[in-house]
């Protein structure tokens, strides 16, 4: 097996690409959770984003509309979640589960007429640099604009939460909704906004899958990535930068598993495919053991219903 630097560069580029949906969905969910809301509907919003993006691409032949549409559809689904949990005060866990079940069913219903249609080529930026610069070229160039956005997002999110007033308000609402409310903050409004933002990001994550990563529509194509994104938020102990690191690790495992299969190692395919899930559990155990560490950034009111007596 020849071992050249350029191949490693291509491998790293592939790892980055496979981590994009995880970064997007987890960064969105992180904001939602920081405001004290636990939305388990990530998988459902992602798959709805995937089919809406793909369907709009086919119908309008316009990738811009497709991407915006996928974000809107994720947002609409999260609005259902917001109405239920914030206005009708339902249990976050059960509502999120319902959202995922509903989203998977709905996506299959919409997607019935889009199975087997080939996708369109998504424009990749700086393709000439990718070819001409060895090693660094395939890492930094020749990606879609969504990938660059995804890799900037954790830093933006970090800055937003730590340095801006809005970020402070979101954290205050997540840590103590009652005191925030007493300070005159509209807790419900803040939480609604965070839920909608999370929904839009999950929709975008889905669009990345169906428009760029594997440009076609397959039923259930998110394949549990939404749940891994949820685990990533815990893995990152609610810190955006660690979301990025975690997503790269998971992307790495996915790509490694594909390459090990291709090389023909005598390890059962299924064991390799199970690696990301087993790794998630191991990582959760390792980080959850230290309760001080996990409590540092955990929104204190996560998943609790807030009701203001009028």
């Amino acid at each position: 097996m020849s071992f050249d630097l350029n191949f490693i560069g291509i491998l790293i580029g592939a790892i980055m690409a496979s981590s994009v949906p995880l970064i997007l969905a987890a960064s969105g969910e992180l904001i939602t959770e920081r405001s004290g809301v636990l939305n388990l509907g990530v998988e459902g919003m992602m798959i709805i984003g995937a089919i809406s993006g793909f369907a709009l691409m086919v119908v309008t032949d316009n990738l811009f509309f497709a991407v915006i549409g996928s974000m809107l559809s994720g947002l609409i689904l999260s609005l259902i979640f917001g109405l239920l949990t914030q206005s009708l005060l339902t249990n976050h866990v059960a509502t999120g589960l319902a959202l995922t079940i509903f989203g998977i069913g709905m996506s299959a219903m919409i997607g019935k007429n889009f199975v087997g249609i080939p996708g369109k080529e998504f424009p990749l930026l700086f393709l000439n640099f990718k070819e001409s610069i060895p090693f660094l070229g395939p890492i930094f160039f020749g990606h879609s604009i969504i990938l660059y956005f995804a890799f900037g997002l954790p830093f933006l999110t970090n800055y937003f939460l730590k340095k801006t007033k809005t970020g402070l308000i979101i954290r205050a609402v997540g840590d103590s909704p009652t005191s925030a409310s007493n300070q005159g903050i509209n807790v419900t409004l803040v939480r609604y906004s965070c839920i909608l933002y999370g929904g839009a990001m999950c929709g975008l994550a889905g669009a990345y899958l169906s428009l760029i990563y594997t440009p076609q529509w397959i039923e259930n194509m998110t394949g549990g990535r939404g749940w891994i994104a949820l685990a990533l938020v815990v893995f990152a102990t609610w810190s955006p930068i660690k979301v990025l690191i975690g997503a790269l690790i998971f992307g790495g495992i996915t790509i490694l598993q594909l390459h090990m299969q291709a090389v023909g190692l005598r390890i059962p395919v299924q064991l390799l495919s199970a690696l990301p899930y087993i790794m998630t559990i191991i990582v959760l155990v390792v980080i959850s053991r230290d309760s001080r560490k996990i409590k540092l950034n955990t929104p204190t009111s996560l998943g609790q219903i807030f009701y203001k007596e009028k």
Binding site: L40, I80, L83, L84, L88, L89, T90, N91, V93, A94, T95, L97, A98, L99, T100, I101, F102, G103, I104, G105, M106, S107, A108, M109, G111, K112, E219, G224, W227, L230, A231, V234, P268, V269, Q270, L271, S273, A274, Y277, I278, T280, I281, L284, V285, S288, R289, S291, I294, E309
Partner: protein, 357 residues
């Protein structure tokens, strides 16, 4: 003028009526979706909810599907009542099926009345052990049981896939991803010739009765309910929280494992990749729709089983994908949770008074 007031106490009649309201709203919502898709909503709903159970075969199929759903949901009610979010029942079902199926293959060509009970028992133990993983990790390492139990679903699915493709595949099976057909002594007998309804329904009914006994007539059941209502009270009363978490997960895993082994020794008769159409996830909806109450869960399992049958019929007559059932299942849960608002709040329609004008 509409006024919303908080209720002082939860009305019992509304508590059991809101599920009925949720079902009606779901039918209405489903009708709208069918209309948007270009079907006559009344016709489509008829294909979905009436055609499937208009003959004896359909009714038997309804019970075949309700049997595992009810069993899993009963187990989940122990977890949910005590605020433990086991959402990996699907994985526990599959693992129970794997263990039970392994034992069935071990006893291949064995005759004897003892074969089936051993298989069923091993399936239940398999599910129980698999459910203990998230429970033990939660109690000793403080991990989130939602994520761990869910990740294990994928692990169980892949393990099943590995076994039926590799070491356990039928040697005379032309490389199909399935095991041998189990021998007759390893099969749960059917109740009537020509129908698929099988004796597994009695396992479900016995489990429902036992659960009712445990939940409402024993100290353990009391502890479970108190911990669900207030963890602080439970701690103050000196209940052993960790032991209880493990017990409720064991009960719920055993039920899911029973459902899995019931499927493979009942209607299926072998192991293959798709031994469950997501029964483990759908049972979560059944548990909520039945208000975590054993009798309620029986009714709820019949209704949710109907969405499975309806989706199959609609797939044939209306050419909609079978995932349509999930749309209805999701909607039921949405409407049910949403209408719970009525439990805690009173909506008063007041006439305008003169001094308000």
């Amino acid at each position: 003028m509409i006024k919303i007031e908080r209720r002082n106490d939860v009305s019992r009649s509304i508590y059991f009526l809101t599920p009925v309201l949720a079902i009606f709203l779901t039918l209405f919502g489903g009708g709208i979706i069918f209309y948007i898709l270009g079907f006559n909503p009344i016709e489509a709903l008829k294909f979905f909810f009436i055609t499937p159970i208009s003959d004896l075969y359909g009714l038997s199929e309804l019970l075949v599907k309700a049997t595992p759903l009810c069993l899993i949901a009963i187990g989940l009610s122990f977890c949910f009542k005590s605020n433990n979010w086991n959402i990996g029942a699907e994985g526990q079902l599959i693992f129970g099926g794997i263990v039970g199926g392994g034992v069935a293959l071990l006893f291949y060509n064995h005759d004897g009345f003892y074969v089936l009970p051993i298989i069923i028992l091993s399936g239940a133990i398999g599910g129980m052990l698999f459910a203990m993983i998230p429970a033990i990790l939660k109690t000793y390492f403080n991990t989130n049981e939602i994520l761990v139990s869910l990740m294990l679903v994928y692990v169980a699915k892949l393990l099943l896939d590995y076994l039926v493709v590799g070491p356990w595949s039928n040697p005379e099976g032309f490389n199909f991803p399935e095991t041998r057909q189990f021998s007759e002594s390893a099969r749960i007998p059917v109740l009537f010739d020509g129908l698929r309804i099988h004796a597994g329904i009695f396992i479900t009914l016995i489990t429902v009765f036992l659960s009712w006994l445990i939940l409402y007539k024993t100290y353990l059941g009391f502890q479970i309910k108190v911990s669900g209502l207030s963890l602080k009270t439970a701690k103050y009363a000196g209940y052993k929280g960790k032991t209880m978490i493990i017990i409720v997960f064991m009960i719920s895993g055993a039920c899911a494992g029973l459902a899995g082994v019931g499927e493979i020794t009942g209607p299926i008769g072998q192991l293959h990749r798709n031994i469950s159409p997501d029964y483990g996830f759908t049972a979560i909806i059944v548990a909520f729709l039945g208000r975590l109450n054993p009798v309620g869960i029986i009714f709820a399992s019949l209704i949710v089983a109907l969405t499975y049958l309806g989706a199959e019929t609609a797939q044939i007559f209306l050419q909609v994908p079978k995932y349509t059932g999930q749309v209805f299942q999701g909607m039921i849960l949405f409407f049910l949770l949403g209408s719970d608002y009525l439990l805690f709040f009173k909506i008063k329609f007041l006439g305008l008074k003169k001094n308000e004008l």
